[in-house]
Symmetry: C2
């Protein structure tokens, strides 16, 4: 069963496994550098639905279905679903899981949701509360844009610090079975708010949260960057990634040569006009599900990796009311081997 070391890190000594993962995206994601790694790319960004919100629910459903199929499991064999998204009242998740017939635990962690879901899944599986848990998160450019910013038809201009909400969903089955990759530890983050109030610069708002969680994790585990082949942040984008490296360097931690960011992997910034990179719950969820975790599963990727998904806990209302943007970052530590790191 999980136990705490140091300040905030939970070691999951049974090393819950990620049995399978799936990523679903739309045309733009298909045209990006990871396009061929996605399990399913749908040219129609409405996914055959009448509205973008329903399309997003459909993406979650599809991601779960594909993840189950790849592990040769049925939905009825899942003990719980942890799900979340960016929409008001998290409707992509509620409607996406409505027909699942599985106990549903709704989360809200903005773009950190996939790591939050994986972390809770790992703790529950490790504690014996479940044998197979589904973690899923999504975002949709069109549903997010009109909710957070402007109607798409308005054609609002985007500053260079803005990020492009991914139209994507990622799902993973966390399991008590023995199959790589394994979850060694998780670290739930503390909210950080250094006063950024520009919702077109969420990378800057989230970077301090990523720095805080990474630093805490290193301190708690007595390890440093050299212990991990890859440090993969959620969706800091160009601006936030640079800031993160700088913030950690101030504390004498140099991650630059092993740091990648889901927000910079999903699209080709030169060709795809996404300004500072990708964002959205679906960004970290899909990049982890189509890229990081399958590679580790096939023993092709890093032998050890940290996924730190970051979330900006704002709403259009909080910004209009003059509030700054609180950031959060949750961390999950994966290894290709079952041997314990701590």
């Amino acid at each position: 069963m999980a136990y705490k070391i140091g300040k905030d890190t939970l070691v999951t000594p049974s090393c819950p496994a990620v049995l399978s993962t799936a990523a679903v995206g739309a045309q733009k994601e298909g045209e990006g550098p990871l396009g061929k790694e996605f399990d399913l790319i749908e040219e129609d960004s409405r996914f055959g639905q009448e509205t973008w919100e329903k399309a997003e629910s459909k993406m979650q459903e599809l991601a779960c279905k594909v993840a189950l199929g790849k592990a040769n499991r049925k939905m009825s064999g899942m003990d719980f679903i942890f799900a979340g998204d960016l929409l008001n009242q998290c409707i992509a998740s509620a409607y996406g899981a409505r027909s699942s017939g599985v106990p549903f635990i709704g989360l809200y962690g903005a773009c950190s949701t996939f790591a939050e879901a994986l972390a809770l899944s790992a703790v529950l599986v490790d504690g014996g509360a479940g044998k197979n848990v589904l973690a899923v998160a999504s975002s949709h450019f069109c549903s997010a844009e009109r909710q957070y910013r402007f109607p798409l038809e308005y054609g609002g201009q985007r500053p260079p610090t803005a990020q492009w909400t991914a139209t994507a969903a990622g799902a993973a089955i966390v399991s008590a079975e023995r199959k790589p990759p394994f979850i060694q530890a998780v670290c739930f983050g503390r909210i950080q708010d250094l006063g950024i109030n520009d919702q077109n610069n969420m990378g800057a708002a989230m970077a301090p949260a990523a720095a805080s969680t990474i630093k805490t994790f290193f301190e708690d585990t007595g390890t440093g960057p050299e212990k991990y082949d890859l440090i993969l942040t959620g969706d800091l984008g160009m601006v936030g990634s640079d800031l993160l490296d700088q913030l950690l360097q101030k504390d004498g931690i140099d991650i630059a040569n092993r740091h990648q960011d889901c927000g910079l992997l999903l699209y080709d910034r030169e060709k795809q006009q996404v300004e500072a990179g990708a964002s959205g719950c679906g960004c970290a969820a899909s990049v982890a599900s189509c890229h990081l975790l399958p590679h580790m599963q096939k023993n092709e990727g890093p032998r050890s990796a940290l996924l730190i998904a970051t979330g900006a806990l704002l709403s259009p209302t909080s910004i209009q009311q003059g509030e700054t943007i609180p950031g959060i970052a949750h961390l999950v530590c994966f290894t290709a081997e079952e041997r314990r790191l701590f």
Copy 2:
């Protein structure tokens, strides 16, 4: 560590304790039948803030502060905060917990959030992942009304099936210490949707979810209503409470003589013009925190009780798009004695 019995019920054999609770409300809640049991009633429903959304964050902060004070604990002694609310992107929770300096795990379960938070807290404490966990949830009539329905100034009429969103927050510390009440088991619910699409009749949308979770829990544990002195549902109100009793009677389960509903306890329906009763995350959170749990703590209340908080997982957008309302209900089983029930 927690283990599953039957279909969905998790037994928490170490029986995590509810160390202290606190409830904060505004004038209307103060004038209701439970007014004197609230820890803090603020006549100014803005709680000294500029906006209702900030007031709701303030309520969460106050509820946590009072719960900590009653247990003689500091925020820094908490391992995690589980928090949620009804606002878009759950900003009441994010801004409420921003200065806590404690790992933050955001939830969305609509009005079921407090039970979801208590249940996850119990599982984590039982599994050794934390020694003290704070669970908090809130709602605010004014922030909810303008977000879900009409601007208050519009003075929209309310049908008799409508419920009144509570301006209230409830917080509880779930702990590994030995002090009543104890959490014996939890049951995360499955989404139920029988096709109700009237957002002014959420009791009807949530009743099937409550019936499903209660029935599953009885089957899983091999117990029936007679085992529990009180079966307290979240916020079904008048319409949903009647429906729940009927739905369970169809399955030969009669809870009527021990069933109460937080939505019917919080206000005086004769005098306070709340139509079918109270609702909102703050309803179950405050009623459990000022009434059920303190009574059990003082050995004055029921010796055993089930709290089943119910949530309607809709959004104004999903309703406008012609969707029906999915319901969810999470259950927590409390006893005044540490002796295990199962």
